[in-house]
């Protein structure tokens, strides 16, 4: 009982002296914490703007794969080999058989939330110890990279 009384005095003190200043001094949103708790995360789809409805694949598009190879030369292959050998991150061989195309596109365009939420990606982080950077890929780049990964996996 005594403890509760002391606590309430402290609370009243804090509110009266500093309570109104924080809201009036804020012009922007609060930056989000790096670590987020998983909520409604779907590990099959990942998190981002892509799903089965907006990513369609068929026979290999050689022109797209060539574009994908070019962009990955600048933005990806410093860290990923085309074999199954790990460099900084895992090798790309077989990635299109392990992951859906839209999961890959979500991950490479929106890595930070997925690194924070996806159990398999978190397990991978424990091995690699480097968070995959956001390389500011536009949607078309991401789609072309998937096509190059498919080519790398032997899709015709």
């Amino acid at each position: 009982m005594k403890k509760i009384f002391v606590l309430s005095v402290i609370v009243a003190f804090v509110v009266s002296c500093g309570g109104n200043s924080s809201s009036e001094n804020t012009t922007g949103e609060t930056p989000k914490s790096m670590v987020e708790q998983p909520t409604t995360y779907d590990p099959k789809r990942g998190e981002g703007k892509f799903d089965e409805s907006n990513v369609k694949i068929g026979a290999l598009d050689a022109a797209m794969a060539t574009k994908g190879e070019s962009i990955s030369g600048t933005k990806c292959t410093s860290c990923h080999k085309l074999t199954d050998e790990k460099l900084v991150g895992p090798g790309w061989k077989g990635v299109t058989t392990r992951r859906t195309p839209h999961w890959i596109m979500n991950f490479i365009t929106n890595p930070d939330p997925m690194i924070n939420k996806d159990p398999e990606v978190q397990a991978q982080l424990e091995i690699c110890l480097v968070r995959m950077p956001n390389q500011s890929l536009v949607d078309e780049d991401a789609r072309n990279i998937v096509e190059f990964m498919r080519k790398n996996d032997g899709v015709k």
Binding site: C17, T26, T30, T74, S78, C79, V88, L129, P133, Q135
Partner: protein, 659 residues
Amino acid sequence: MNRIKNIALCFTAIAITLGINGCKPKNTATASSGDATKAYVAPGKYDEFYNFVSGGFSGQMSVYGLPSGRLFRYIPVFSVDPEKGWGYNEETKPMLNTSHGFVPWDDLHHIELSQTKGEQNGKWAFANANNTPRLARIDLKTFRTAEIIELPNSGGNHSSPFGTENSEYIVAGTRFSVPSDADNGDVPINSYKKNFKGHLSFVSIAPETGEMKIAFQLRTPGVNFDLARAGKGKSHGWFFFSCYNTEQASTLLEVNASQKDKDFIMAVNWKKAEEYIKAGKGTKTAVKYAHNVFNEATQTATSKIENEVLVLDIKDFKDICYFIPCPKSPHGCDVDPTGEYIVGSGKLAALIPVFSYDKLQKAITDKTFDGDYEGIPVIKYEAALYGEVKKPGLGPLHTEFDGKGNAYTSFFVSSEIVKWNIKDLKVLDRAPTFYSVGHLCIPGGNTVKPWGKYLIAYNKITKDRYLPTGPELTQSAQLFDISGDKMQMILDFPTIGEPHYAQAAPADLIRNNGQLKIYKIADNIHPYKTNGEAEAKVVREGNKVHVYMTSIRSHFAPDNIEGIKLGDEVYFHVTNLEQDWDVPHGFAIKGANNAELLIMPGETCTLKWVPDRVGMFPMYCTDFCSALHQEMQGYVRVSPAGSSVPITFSLGKPVPEIK
């Protein structure tokens, strides 16, 4: 003894408790006069204003948040900066070039934020170099210096970088009058009256790109120009410059330039000057000045020497300039938000004269003159005067406005800020500063739309305000809450270098202006860019060796280089392949006489390295980039001159092969 100590301790504890419970510390000399919690910005919350503060003799500009006083960045402008590689990497060295060659350290005094219709627009900040006269433009999307232009015919660019209400022009008035560059400067110093001239540069600003150009210069009688302000609203089209040393002394100015009871504010009809220039009346004058531009696409600066400037001698054009007498060596010369009142601040005066734009116009029309000064009409003091603020304090320096009809003037000698009403010229409040305030700033306080919530005093002396740090002490800024009738000091914070003038703008105006987060690697057209590790290479061209290197978390490509020989000049062109915000990489190599690199995502920077001995040279990343940052390293082998070791480079495999 112990008991006495305990009792004393108890009293102290009680005193502290009472102090905290009171919420407002009462002692102005030791703490704040107002509610210090108003300056508190909680962790993770943003400030309300950006404050761009001159770094004085550091030559740099610093950026603080208000009301917290937190330092966010300091922007290298006129001095080299080892933290950012400014003036050290090959790309930025040309920015510090002048007609005198490379100048590594200058003196930055004043800030001007760009405007549209008299209001801040959040695009650029301008700054002056006071020693080797120059003007700089800082891009507020990148917080980097984008352009620097040198000012010919000048000596000490102090009366700068003040601008017109659409930033049509930023002015640069010379502090020292000197013989014109084209004239023979090899004359006796005591021939000042005959040979020395003042020049006021009007530098035009391209509305979209911000590119600076010296549109014209006005040649004036030889005096010292101090500060200036453009007219606004009804007085748009006019500029007002404070002048001292109308005695035309060249020695012991402390005494000899303080002889006359009144010096001048020079009123300039710049629209009229513009007409004369358009009509071809300007005289092409041979000069030499550097114009340096940083190209964001090539990420490289170029320095071009220009050879000509257009000059109008004001004695040949009777309707451009007029002198208004102003008491005692005026410093500040400030125009209120309506554009009607011009406040002069004679730094040795004990009153503040306020001039009326309407009365000035009438005096010009009616020719209510009091003779002339070297052929320029001098307006009768009373004919332009609206009134005087009587006994405001000692040594008024500079005035800004709150947009509610009040003016705030800094007083260096009496070390205080004085609030007074513009209409009735009555003093309303005064607050001490610690110590010896120079300029002051109200966010937007020089524009038609001030945010009259805070005032910041920039002090020259701190003495006992902070923990001692040997003979050299920090300068300081003091933040006042001016939202009520009385000014209340709520924060005291140290500054970088000596803060002369500063300006502040709402945080949203700057942070929503299209802030650049990364350099897009696809848009990088640096001639030595490496577009991915497959293109990383080492190329020998005679004794020059170009290393096309990439960096990404957490390795360089290549990271083993052999075949460098003594006598080579090695250029490391490092491209940061990262495309995420806030992931710079550093680059350092042992024995580099030319510092290091710091490379932003998508950027290419070049370090020149001339090895001085045969041996093995480690290189590594200096900016903590990932958990494997400490692994981001490599080796360069240096062989004797004439060695037959070929150029080889690699990543991830031994070179030469293991036996």
